[in-house]
Amino acid sequence: MIDRAASRPWTAFAWAVLLVAVVVALTPYLWIVLASFKTRVDLFSSAPKWLFSPTFANYPAVFIGKEYWPLAINSLIISLSSTALCILIGAPAAYVFARADFPGKEDLFFFFLTTRMAPPISIAVPLFLFFTSLGLIDTIYAVVIAHTSFNLSLVVWMMRGFFAEIPKEIDEAAVMDGRSRLGAFVFIIAPLAAPGIAATAVLCFILSWNEFLYAFILVAFEGRPLTVGIPGLVTPHGTLWGQVAAVAVVATLPILIFTFLVQRQLVRGLTFGAVKG
């Protein structure tokens, strides 16, 4: 009882900090959602307008009028393919890191992480030249490969923890039951790690879906995702903020949904299995 009484001011303080953080984080998003339903006049009124008669014209104007809807399809193709590739390549690699012992294992594991330590822009130009010489520039494949390359290290790091949590006797039981090592992984271990794989996949999907820089550099027209489409609305004649907001809202929706669905596993994955339950 005494403890609780003493901690009350701290609890209040913690709530206050959280509240500030939430307001800071959500206000821009709220602004975008509102802006997507505003007319140009409402958008540029000198005082921010909270009450206005909404217009639904921005959405059809950009997605149908400017033919932006294929960009959403592109975003989906890029995110799904790079996620699938990441899991297909990363999960077996993570499993090996969780189970096998080989010289330099921890060094190699750390090396994977270092690939994410450089600022993405520092390898943007080399990446551009690389894909140009491969003849993949301005194709959707370039973006898929680029996203796979930077998400792969994340998959290996997250998944290793999930696999390490599964006792190695499970592998051995599967092997004794008649599976090969590969069979044990595919048919027993992967299904057991499914929640972790799903969480990792969602994170990959979100990161790929959100990615702007590499996509912007690697594709201009064909295979443009939504994120790259937005700057296209910044024209010499002025920025169509209503339409920018409409695209932004559509672009953030899947992320909102996914994050709510798997937030628990996401936290667990990002702390490498430290949060139990």
Partner: protein
């Protein structure tokens, strides 16, 4: 025909040597217990036999065929793990059925085998459950059922009973013995519990520091231990041992002196089982005087801890309501036939 460990050595990548040229051969249909303290290599031996570890030297032969390089799935062995290792995402039924599904058996055949096995192990009621809904004993039965359902010739068990509570352990021990009798398969059972070894085994292989110390029937291991180590490892309480000198058929160690015929002169370790020490009158010719330290009731017996100078020992005697008070003198006799003599340096049996 049978299983042969032919000079099996295992050195792990970190440099730990678990097995040093283990030689062991037994027949099919036997219940072999690999017994030893932790670090003796018994689990490694079992895992090498299973194919889960590759030996760094030697060969494994099954019915004359070299299986050393064969992956586990081609060896015809089932295995029960200490922590059960059940597939937590599958039902009990699917856990037991798994080895059959992997072997692409027909559905009706699978159903029949699973139900037979479940009945044999009395887990028929739990087939629909998930492993997380089982008690330790039930999970253990499922693990045994899964290992045996596809009728492997050899069933390996790595300390399968050590995670169970004492009562359940006794019960499962009897069950395993019954299973062995009914299925007539070769069982290889790893344990550090000498009681499990004594009760289950047709033959016990005692391991120490990666070497085979003795391989005999349980009663022989108990009655004629091959070394001081085996003598002290088998039996609860352990065999009493005294380090002393033997000269002309008389053994002396501190204040203790007793006749020990038929043993060569020199430094020797003399051993006697607590239950074979006789309590005699002070007037008896070959009585040795001890003083009572403490007594413990182990119904229907009583354990009397006695000492004499620096030596101490345990006497096990039927409880006839006699009390042994601390400091009370107690005269003991060591029947020559019950004495074991071991080499003072190597610990090897002398007689």
């Amino acid at each position: 025909m049978g299983i042969v460990f032919d000079g099996i050595s295992k050195v792990f990548p970190d440099g730990t040597a678990a097995l040093h040229g283990l030689d062991l051969a037994f027949d099919t249909g036997e219940f072999i217990v690999l017994l030893g303290p932790s670090g003796s290599g018994k689990t490694t031996a079992c895992r090498v036999l299973a194919g889960l570890e590759h030996p760094t030297g030697g060969r494994i032969l099954v019915d004359g065929k070299d299986v050393t390089d064969l992956p586990p799935r081609f060896r015809g062995m089932g295995m029960v793990f200490q922590n059960y290792a059940l597939y937590s995402h599958k039902s009990v039924y699917e856990n037991i059925a798994y080895p059959l599904r992997v072997r692409k058996m027909a559905g009706t055949e699978i159903d029949r085998s699973v139900r037979n096995m479940a009945d044999l192990l009395q887990i028929g009621r739990y087939l629909a459950r998930k492993p997380s809904q089982l008690s330790g004993g039930q999970a253990q039965r499922v693990a045994v059922a899964r290992a045996l359902v596809w009728q492997p010739d050899i069933c390996l068990m790595d300390e399968p009973l050590s995670n169970l509570d004492a009562l359940l352990r006794l019960h499962m021990r009897t069950e395993l013995k019954r299973l062995h009798r009914e299925l007539k398969k070769t069982f290889v059972f790893v344990t550090h519990d000498q009681e499990e070894a004594m009760t289950l085994a047709t033959r016990v292989a005692v391991l120490r520091d990666g070497r085979l110390v003795q391989f005999d029937e349980p009663k022989t291991v108990y009655r004629r231990p091959a070394s001081r180590f085996v003598a002290e490892f088998m039996g609860r309480p352990a065999m009493n041992t005294f380090e002393g000198m033997l000269y002309a058929g008389m053994f002396r160690a501190g204040d203790i002196a007793c006749a020990a015929p038929g043993i060569p002169d020199g430094p020797v370790v003399l051993g006697i089982r607590p239950e074979q020490v006789e309590i005699v009158d002070s007037s008896a010719a070959d009585a040795v005087r001890f003083e009572v330290d403490v007594m413990e009731l182990v119904e229907p017996d009583v354990l009397v801890f006695v000492r004499s100078g620096t030596s101490s020992m345990i006497v096990r005697t039927p409880n006839d309501d006699r009390t042994f008070a601390h400091g009370e003198p107690l005269f003991l006799r060591f029947p020559p036939a019950a004495l074991h003599a071991f080499d003072a340096v190597t610990g090897a049996r002398l007689t």
